[in-house]
């Protein structure tokens, strides 16, 4: 039970200057832990849920959107992708059977990512599913798809299964077994999953036109580091290489989390600053117009009620701009940030109904959630656990089971040494232009 690998010195030798000491502390902070475990978990759950619900809703239309029945035919898609190099496994074959497999994997991986089962692996499959479907038919998407697209890539680099996940529960159980003197259960599913995905990865070698080099590199790097992580955990769990991989995974996580936060701020900043320049946002009528667009009017009567008062429209119009412009600056002030966060989440909920954009709104709320305070998230978690306990308590009378045994404790989920990636290259393409309010 001793450390296999050598000198684990006590903290860094003292730095004389307080500045140096602070820097050392910060360095230790970002290398020793994956920060924001609850925030990253809620972002994971939110985006996985948004994409899962979207895929289920579009189940009857899937072939028209992304499959063989699409007016954006496979040949058209291929010509566009040959120019911009977007990644999609749907270009590996034009068969309808392959399409159904990809769609099924996309559905399954989002469900499992939401639950946090083999979180890292599912996050990779989730990204592959999102990119495959969206890039296959880029003109079917809107702003909601755009956020999901970005976050699916960023999430791959995070340890987003530390809490509120089946992984965390499994690890907590294993830890309990070990603590009571038992032997940790052997993981059989992991290696099998790894082997199967390795075979799937071979597809990237066949793929003649598709995917920028960094996507392929990212996939292979993640796959290799998952294998390495498994091996090191199994054969040298207390070794220094294990500790190093942990540090690298923490760094990647923390870096990705910062990028996610900046991305959300950029979304609001661009949405807000460009609006300031618009005459309709200045004269306070802007919000009136989207409420009268046929494509965004599921409830015309409701839209009319809201749009009937000039003062309410003015307040909402100005409020939208103020919140969007201000938000990035308030992230340094907890109290104001939280107030604005509530305002933005409420506004998105309104957009979901009024403009008929439920999946866009859900995705934006999931993005906002990265800024939710830990105390609030803990409270939500505790409430959910209590609710579940109350539900399971009844059946527990009979089987005297351990109701609510796994109030998901904070444990590291699957990690790996997947370091940074360097996106690069390629031409432009149709983005998700869109008519949304944000």
């Amino acid at each position: 039970m001793s450390h296999v690998a050598g000198p684990v010195g006590p903290a860094r030798p003292d730095h004389e200057s307080p500045l140096g000491r602070k820097a050392a502390l910060a360095l230790q902070h970002v290398t020793a832990r994956a920060l924001g475990p609850h925030q990253s978990a809620v972002v994971r759950i939110g985006f996985a849920a948004a994409w899962l619900l979207f895929l289920l809703r579009e189940l009857p239309n899937r072939r028209e959107l992304y499959g063989p029945g699409s007016p954006w035919s496979w040949d058209l898609a291929q010509q566009l992708i040959a120019g911009n190099g977007a990644f999609t496994t749907l270009m590996w074959s034009d068969s309808g059977f392959w399409f159904e497999i990809v769609y099924a994997v996309a559905v399954l991986s989002s469900a499992l990512l939401m639950l946090g089962w083999r979180t890292r692996t599912m996050s990779v499959l989730f990204m592959v599913g999102v990119l495959s479907l969206q890039n296959r038919s880029i003109f079917m998407g809107d702003g909601g798809d755009n956020v999901i697209h970005l976050m699916a890539i960023y999430l791959v680099l995070t340890r987003c299964g530390q809490v509120w996940s089946l992984d965390a529960r499994r690890e907590a159980r294993a830890a309990r077994v070990v603590a009571s003197g038992g032997k940790a259960p052997v993981d059989r599913v992991g290696p099998v999953l790894w082997a199967v995905l390795g075979v799937g990865l071979l597809g990237t070698l066949l793929d003649s036109p598709g995917g920028e080099w960094w996507v392929t590199t990212l996939l292979w790097t993640l796959w290799l580091s998952q294998g390495l992580w498994w091996a090191v955990n199994r054969y040298a769990p207390r070794s220094e290489p294990r500790a190093l991989l942990d540090v690298i995974a923490n760094l990647a996580h923390n870096g990705a989390l910062v990028v996610i936060m900046v991305e959300v701020c950029l979304i609001y900043a661009t949405a807000g600053w460009y609006k300031v320049q618009g005459s309709r946002w200045q004269d306070g009528t802007a919000l009136y117009y989207p409420l009268h667009l046929d494509y965004f009017a599921p409830w015309p009567a409701l839209s009319d009620i809201l749009a009937s008062s000039g003062v309410i429209v003015l307040l909402l119009t100005y409020g939208t701009v103020i919140v969007q412009v201000a938000f990035p600056f308030t992230v340094f002030n907890r109290r104001i940030k939280n107030v604005l966060l509530v305002a933005m989440i409420l506004e998105h909920a309104g957009i979901a109904v009024l403009l008929g954009l439920p999946f866009f709104s859900l995705a934006m709320i999931a993005a906002d959630a990265v800024f939710l305070p830990t105390a609030f998230l803990l409270w939500v978690g505790a409430t959910a656990t209590r609710g579940r306990q109350r539900l399971t308590a009844r059946s527990a009378y009979e089987d005297a089971g351990d109701a609510g045994a796994g109030a998901a404790k904070g444990e590291h989920g699957d990690g790996d040494g997947g370091g940074g990636t360097v996106p690069d290259q390629r031409r432009k393409d149709a983005g998700a232009d869109t008519p949304l309010v944000r």
Binding site: A32, T270, R426
Partner: protein, 247 residues
């Protein structure tokens, strides 16, 4: 036994932080020997560099054209396209203030050999009807025709001439959309040719405003297209039967 004093090695045991330490040792960089610290520092440098460059590139991509983004436009584009493309100028600087309806009419061969031209069929109105009263509108109704039409118009010049590959792709696309949509109509025979037009109506200014809005539609009519096999998506047979093929 000694596993739980790993925490003691951290110079900063953050008190009261929710997650308990992982099963393996979580030592941070301070718990590593020098050679490993070098590797960790290298990893930190790479992560920090990639994150900073990425954020800078995305910023230049979403910011207005400026001195830097003009000079490095190509590098920014190479980095951002296609996977990190984004456009958040939504409803900015001004929201869309017009409803664009795409309409189609078709020339039909009837069974008796005669020809017949249908009236204008408003495809966007069909989308609108599918969206109305629907809490979960489909991308098929909300985006397919709307964005397909934007794509077509934006990649053609004023005289409806395609600009490059995108123009050609968008024409194939909008033709296939039109034929897909006509399939669910009972036209009385197969479509030989069809024609599209757009009807743009300004949203009327709010009742409290003194602005006068001309809400008369402005039409833009496009040339006739003869139907080719390429215009028919899977399941579109162009028998003109309509009802049985709908969906």
């Amino acid at each position: 036994m000694d596993s739980y004093d790993d925490k003691g090695e951290n110079p900063a045991p953050p008190p009261g932080r929710p997650p308990s330490p992982p099963p393996g040792p979580s030592r941070g960089i301070a718990g590593l020997s020098f050679p490993y610290q070098v590797v960790a520092a290298l990893a930190l440098a790479v992560v920090a560099l990639v994150a900073v460059v990425h954020v800078a590139m995305v910023f230049l991509h979403v910011a207005p054209d400026n001195t830097v983004s003009k000079r490095y436009g190509e590098q920014v584009g190479d980095w951002v396209f296609p996977e990190f493309e984004q456009n958040w100028k939504l409803f900015a600087p001004n929201p869309l203030q017009q409803n664009v309806a795409v309409e189609v009419r078709a020339e039909i061969s009837k069974a008796d050999g005669s020809r017949h031209t249908t009236g204008w069929i408003n495809l966007s109105a069909e989308d609108g009807a599918a969206i109305r009263g629907n809490p979960l509108p489909s991308h098929v109704d909300q985006n397919e025709l709307r964005r397909g039409w934007d794509f077509y118009v934006n990649s053609h010049d004023d005289k409806a001439r395609p600009n490059g590959l995108r123009g050609q792709l968008s024409e194939s696309y909008i033709r296939r959309i039109a034929m897909l949509r006509l399939e669910s109509h009972d036209l009385g025979g197969p479509v030989d040719r069809f024609q599209l037009r757009s009807a743009t109506r300004l949203v009327e200014a709010p009742p409290w405003s003194e602005e006068k809005t001309n809400t008369k539609p402005a039409y833009r009519v496009f040339p006739w297209w003869t139907v080719t096999p390429d215009d028919l998506s899977e399941g579109v047979r162009n028998h003109g039967g309509g009802t049985e093929a709908s969906g």
